[in-house]
């Protein structure tokens, strides 16, 4: 029988919480749980346990004792832990929630919080996380052990910060679909669990946002990685079940009347998902949600996205007027300007702006997309001229 790796990963934070609850320090407990999970992968092939969680807790606890003993031997002092796990109460949901807070500790850098969350809460191995972020395994191992030391030094005072947890999961989601590990799917899994543990409409908003974007993943790019613009996406490829779930979660969250950043972003995504055709998109309402979003998150990127919506709602001239307020250094400004000028009929200017957008693109897919746009317009200009 092959071992269900997803089930194993689902159990990882519960097992870690149980080992910590029995008195282990977080850093060593995390190493011990990783060892137990590696053991499970081979041991369960031949002898699947009746109670996988209890099996993992027992094996992880023994691993914790082994690690502690060898550390203690190195330091030439007595081991201070019992060989058998003390009977502890079963793991409470609060313990797992506490792990989320620890892994997104405000003292950690974002990359450390991401790595630690994926490992301790997500149950991924260091090698898998390293592969997902394209760094050597040794580097990722160091990043994780430094993060653990930071946590050990600072501890967790107070109730924990849900905002940093949400930001960490958002970053994991946005990292996307490269590599063997589907980070977007992993972020959704962890955010689902967080929504269950922490009753907060913004967590629901974040989950909804992820589901609504995930629903469109197969239409966003061609198999070779080429970007497909929203207007040209094949909407029959959109996952209607995920959209329905995302919309339901969002509506329930909005009904609680504590709107925030993620609920606004999800509302915008829902309005896109709701349109059968690009032409059916309710752009005025999207502009309204951008106005609301600005009251929570006033960044140049949000302002630029609002300009795109204005251009669709009120025409390219209105969009270009709104664009005047966006500073020139804002990423993707040239791409937005190019699109607005093209719709306004200024093809040569648009072509030059697409070329400029290609030069300043933050990733290869966008660079290629903007280069194709520039080439398309230049061919059109030559043909007409």
């Amino acid at each position: 029988m092959s071992v269900d790796a997803a089930e194993l990963r689902r159990l990882a934070p519960r097992v870690l919480a149980a080992v910590v609850r029995r008195g282990a320090d977080f850093g060593t407990a995390d190493d011990a749980v990783q060892q137990a999970m590696v053991r499970a992968l081979s041991a369960w092939e031949t002898a699947p346990p009746k109670d996988p969680e209890a099996w993992l807790v027992t094996v992880a606890w023994r691993a914790f004792i082994d690690i502690t003993r060898s550390d203690a031997a190195r330091r030439n002092r007595e081991a201070r832990v019992d060989a058998e796990p003390p009977a502890g109460p079963s793991v409470a949901a609060d313990d797992t929630l506490q792990l989320y807070f620890l892994c997104a500790h405000p003292e950690l850098t974002t990359s450390s919080a991401v790595a630690l969350t994926l490992r301790a809460v997500g149950g991924l191995t260091t090698a898998q996380i390293a592969q997902a972020y394209l760094v050597p395994e040794a580097t990722m191992a160091q990043r994780i052990s430094r993060a653990k030391r930071t946590i050990a030094d600072h501890g967790l005072a107070g109730p924990g910060d849900l905002a940093t947890v949400m930001r960490t999961l958002y970053l994991v989601f946005n990292e996307g679909y490269s590599g063997d590990i589907d980070l977007a799917a992993e972020a959704i899994r962890l955010t689902r669990q967080l929504a269950f543990l922490a009753d907060h409409p913004e967590v629901d908003g974040l989950l909804s946002l992820m589901l609504l974007h995930h629903a469109r993943r197969f239409s966003r790019t061609r198999p070779d990685g080429q970007i497909v613009a929203l207007a040209e996406q094949d909407r029959t490829q959109w996952d209607t079940d995920l959209i329905a779930e995302g919309v339901d979660i969002l509506q329930a969250a909005l009904a609680r009347q504590q709107v925030g950043n993620y609920q606004c972003q999800a509302a915008i995504a829902a309005l896109h998902a709701d349109a059968q055709h690009f032409e059916d998109t309710d752009w005025p309402q999207i502009v309204g949600w951008y106005d609301e979003l600005l009251t929570y998150t006033d960044t140049p990127i949000v302002r630029l996205n609002r300009v795109v919506a204005i251009g669709q709602a009120n025409g390219p001239r209105a969009g270009l007027a709104a664009l005047e307020d966006i500073p020139h250094h804002v990423p993707r400004r040239d791409a937005v300007a190019a699109h607005l000028h093209e719709r306004d009929g200024a093809l040569e200017l648009a072509a030059a702006l697409y070329a400029s957008a290609a030069r300043s693109a933050p990733n290869v897919a966008e660079r290629n997309h903007q280069t194709r746009q520039a080439a398309r317009l230049n061919a059109l200009i030559r043909h007409e001229g």
Binding site: T109, T110, S111, S112, V114, A115, Y133, L134, V135, P136, A138, T139, M140, A141, Q142, R143, I144, R146, L171, F173, N174, E175, G176, Y177, S178, A184, L209, H213, H214, R217, T221, G225, I227, L230, Q265, I268, A269, H272, N305, V308, A361, P362, N363, V364, A365, E366, R367
Partner: protein, 135 residues
């Protein structure tokens, strides 16, 4: 979380404050320089910011296709005036500021008289993956 390429040049970079060629350094100063570079890389490994590094041979040629079924065309060795890259390091850091800070630290490797060379390094961001959320 962004990756940057640090490029060290044999030739082509602006002259640094401590501009003495390595073959003019006192005995031991080259070793101190190499040790500094090694310790810098080791520090980045410990901090979880190291991706890769490599020194490059100055030997190299221009090469291009000359059409199907024809051997590649080469041109070289490189002329003395050419911009020449000596080696590279890739780092993975949390901010642009951090990348600049690390580049400056690497640039301060000791040269003649044990004084920091303060050589000019080229810092180039790697293009990132396509983010999921774009609108």
């Amino acid at each position: 979380m962004a990756k940057y390429l640090l490029l060290k040049h044999y030739r082509g970079a602006p002259a640094p404050p401590n501009d003495v060629p390595a073959d003019q350094w006192a005995p031991g100063e080259w070793d101190a320089h190499v040790r500094y570079m090694g310790e810098f890389a080791a520090k980045l490994q410990r901090s979880g910011e190291f991706v890769t590094e490599h020194a490059l041979s100055p030997d190299g040629v221009w090469v291009r296709s000359d059409g199907p079924d024809r051997p590649p065309v080469t041109d070289g060795p490189f002329a003395e005036t050419k911009d020449l890259i000596a080696g590279f390091m890739i780092i993975d850091v949390d901010s642009d500021e951090r990348a600049l800070e690390l580049a400056a630290e690497l640039s301060a490797a000791p040269g003649a008289g044990g004084v920091p060379i303060q050589e000019w390094l080229e810092l180039r961001p790697l293009l990132s993956p396509l983010p999921v959320i774009s609108e």
